[in-house]
């Protein structure tokens, strides 16, 4: 039965490939090309890092393998958490499940099909992201193509194992608490655990690994390097197998690879057996909705609309979004991740080893770019999907007497205030931590507020240029072509913004260093003009393109 189910996926993929013609094909090739460029840039970074580590006397080779084991451990943990979150959708809420359950297919075959889907969705981006690292590692160690084949062979049971852990957790939780409320709680726990792992990892100061002087005794450091990183985890088995391969120790490679494959096989056999007993109860429970008793109070927005009828459409859409988003755990649980991101960001700023006041002010200026990146990343998760989140209900707005521009303006209203607050918080707190001077503080605060507006407008604009009202979860939107273009454009915008402001900042530092007549008024005017032009373009072009596309979009 499973081959029949897998065949439909192969056919779907083949049909999607065959459907790539004309502009669609060009778009996908461009997307793939830019993706490859990013992977190449990552490769360059990893190569430099590993080259440096490998060059450290005596302990170099140990350092790079230690780092590899840590990278694999992080990957393993991330795939587990991703698979918990994703399996809640794939195993219990996929569009096609009701159909599949109505067919005479074996329940366990359906389960395995969905389990493989979960493993794929929860691991492919991570596998792709660490690929440049592995290629760089192979090159630094001077290994042949066989190393990469061995790695590819090891990766399959590795991600299958990680996915199986997440799937097992979901299935058990849904069996014990068969309700759609469990899904919300699991999403919340998933976000909490990602945030926890992220914060703990950063607060443990991993940079110490690269600074042996921070450990008092050299022997202690070497002992740490030689010790296994989580010896009972599959990430360590993969590391051991890779070390064995690089040393030509085939017996050790076979043992580690064998343990990995045997563990994966055993876990899937266990899951297969358990699915027959546990899966149906969880699926059945997931179909029920939790009891909810809404009230009939007049909402604040409705009171405002009575006072200002001209704003009625915006206020109505606003309360609809406010209620919908606050009741959707998938959405608000992500706020925990943002909290973790901000905490780590500020912690990293505090840890920066900056000695002079000038250096601190200079970093405060460059910090605009980093804070902007954080805002763009948040925008990718919240602002960019805002239009698409209307989902199948979009027909209601399309057939209502509201312009698409009004819909976009309301979405902007929902996103803008949090975006401004996050930007303001990041910049003012980090300026305070860094002790930035008044000029840089004022400039960076003003710039981040303008950037928050531009990035939000771009998020809604790009979201309207690339709407997808049929997605099952936000992650599909984030990793889409449109999401990628949005991030790339936001990064380009921030780079240009910093480039334009670099000149006045240079004049300011020249003055601080006592250089005579540092201020060039014509230069300042030119920068101000470029600043206005850049922001006007950032505010106008994506918005205009989005409004036009959404107006033409047919549902």
């Amino acid at each position: 039965m499973l081959p029949v189910l897998l065949k439909r996926k192969v056919l779907t993929f083949r049909n999607a490939l065959l459907g790539l013609r004309g502009w669609k094909l060009v778009k996908n090739l461009l997307f793939a090309g830019v993706g490859l460029m990013m992977l190449a840039a990552l490769y360059g970074g990893f190569w430099r890092l590993l080259n440096y580590l490998e060059g450290v006397e005596l302990i170099g080779p140990m350092l790079s393998w230690k780092l590899t084991s840590m990278v694999l451990l992080m990957t393993f943990s991330m795939v587990i958490v991703s698979s918990i979150i994703i399996s809640m959708t794939t195993l219990y809420y996929s569009f096609d499940l009701k159909f599949l359950f109505s067919t005479p297919l074996d329940l366990r075959a359906v389960f395995l099909d969905k389990a493989l889907e979960t493993v794929f969705y929860s691991s492919w981006t991570l596998i792709l992201a660490i690929l440049p690292y592995i290629i760089a590692l192979g090159r630094i160690k001077g290994l042949d193509a066989g190393f990469y084949l061995a790695y590819a062979f090891l990766m399959a049971p590795f991600v299958m194992l990680a996915g199986a852990v997440g799937i097992f957790f979901s299935m058990l939780v849904m069996y014990l608490f068969p309700s759609s409320k469990t899904r919300d709680i699991t999403w919340l726990l998933g976000s909490l655990s990602v945030a926890f792992v992220y914060v703990i990892f950063r607060f443990s100061k991993p940079e110490k690994l690269l600074r042996p002087d921070s450990l008092e005794i050299v022997a202690q450091y070497i002992q740490y390097l030689q010790s296994p990183t989580a010896p009972y985890m599959p990430s360590w088995w993969v590391t051991k197998a890779m070390v064995a391969y690089s040393a030509g120790n085939w017996a050790a490679f076979a043992v580690s690879a064998g343990v990995l494959c045997a563990a994966a096989g055993a876990l899937y056999l266990l899951l297969y057996a358990l699915a027959g007993r546990l899966y149906m109860r969880g699926f059945s429970g997931a179909q029920s909705s939790p009891r909810f008793k809404g009230r009939r109070d007049t909402l604040p927005e409705q009171r405002l609309a009575a006072r200002w009828p001209g704003l009625r459409a915006y206020l109505t859409l606003y309360w609809k979004d406010r209620l919908s988003l606050s009741r959707d755990a998938r959405y608000w649980s992500q706020i925990i991740l943002i909290g973790a991101l901000i905490a780590v960001y500020l912690f990293s700023i505090r840890q920066l080893p900056l000695d002079t006041a000038d250096l601190r002010s200079m970093v405060s200026f460059l910090n605009i770019g980093v804070a902007g990146f954080v805002m763009a990343a948040i925008g990718l998760r919240f602002t960019f999907p805002a239009v698409s989140l209307e989902g199948s209900s979009y027909w209601l707005l399309k057939s209502a007497p509201i312009t698409t521009a009004a819909v976009m303006r309301e979405k902007l209203l929902v996103s803008l205030l949090p975006s401004l607050l996050v930007g303001f918080l990041l910049i003012t707190v980090s300026n305070h931590l860094l002790g930035a001077d008044l000029f840089v503080s004022v400039l960076s605060t003003f710039t981040i507020l303008v950037a928050a507006l531009a990035i939000s407008v771009m998020g809604i604009g790009f979201g309207a240029v690339f709407p997808d009202f049929n997605v099952e979860n936000i992650h599909q939107l984030e990793s889409s072509y449109g999401g990628f273009l949005y991030m790339a454009t936001a990064m380009g915008y921030l780079a240009l913004l910093l480039g334009i402001e670099a000149w006045p900042v240079h004049m300011h530092f020249s003055e601080r260093m006592g250089r005579p007549n540092p201020w060039d008024l014509r230069g300042l005017a030119l920068c101000a003009g470029l600043f206005v032009a850049l922001n006007a373009a950032a505010l106008y072009l994506p918005w205009k393109a989005g409004a036009r596309n959404l107006e033409r979009h047919e549902v």
Binding site: Q302, T316, L323, W395, L396, T403, E554
Partner: protein, 240 residues
């Protein structure tokens, strides 16, 4: 009044609607019949303003849906064949949402929404999230939302799918009431028996082209079948 002139909609090289022209007068219930893929849903989507015509015009209450979409949308109501609604709103909130969007005065909403919920037997579920509603309950809620805003033209695409027999009977009565109040009703349906009993006029679309239109008796007269003729006989004969 609904007026369609030489309407064409193409998707690539495929003509979904081909030179369609027809009128539905105020107070008239028009049944739009045709086999699957004939162009019914495309036509009703163009009329509702969620799809644009390739050529030709469509207007509702004198407003061209392509040139004056907002004015046209203010006076019409559309219910699609799949009742997708906001899953995280309650039934009560959904009706308030529709009322607010279509500028129904708040006092009128507070008076009429409980009545409508009672009429459609949804009062007990009004505080529940729509994600817990069945297909039929969502359909009833959408029909209630149409009645809340008193439109001049109503577009239904397979309105009785998922409704129980009692609700279908109530729907028929409401449809007659809506038309009696002066609204033009444009209804796509596969249920020929309902069309025959309820509609003043019917049209049959086949492969994008309107092959006949007239009163039910006029259309029935087109069949070559002997004895008691039905709309089904005509439909099957013309679309073979």
């Amino acid at each position: 009044m609904i007026e369609i002139n030489n309407l064409t909609k193409t998707f690539g090289s495929f003509k979904a609607v081909d030179g369609l022209s027809l009128k539905v007068a105020p107070g008239e219930i028009f049944g739009f019949l045709g086999p699957n893929g004939a162009g019914k849903t495309t036509t009703v989507k163009i009329l509702s303003g969620i799809m644009r015509p390739t050529s030709g015009t469509a207007s509702v209450a004198g407003f061209d849906v392509a040139k004056e979409p907002l004015a046209a949308k203010r006076v019409m109501a559309y219910i699609p064949d799949e009742p997708f609604v906001y899953p995280k709103l309650t039934g009560w909130e959904f009706l308030r949402f529709i009322g607010d969007i279509y500028a129904v005065p708040a006092a009128e909403q507070r008076r009429r929404i409980p009545e409508l919920l009672e009429t459609f037997e949804l009062a007990a579920h009004a505080g529940e999230l729509l994600e817990s509603y069945s297909h039929g309950m969502k359909q009833k809620l959408l029909i209630a939302s149409v009645l809340l805003r008193r439109p001049k033209a109503v577009l239904f695409d397979e309105p009785t799918v998922g409704l129980d027999p009692k609700s279908i009977r109530r729907f028929k009565t409401l449809l007659t009431d809506i038309a009696r109040d002066g609204a033009a009703v444009f209804m796509c349906t596969h249920i020929l028996d309902m069309a025959e009993k309820l509609c003043h006029t019917v049209g049959i679309i086949y492969r994008g082209r309107l092959i006949t239109k007239g009163t039910v008796d006029e259309v029935k007269a087109l069949t070559t079948a002997q004895g008691a003729r039905s709309l089904e006989d005509v439909f099957l004969e013309l679309t073979e």
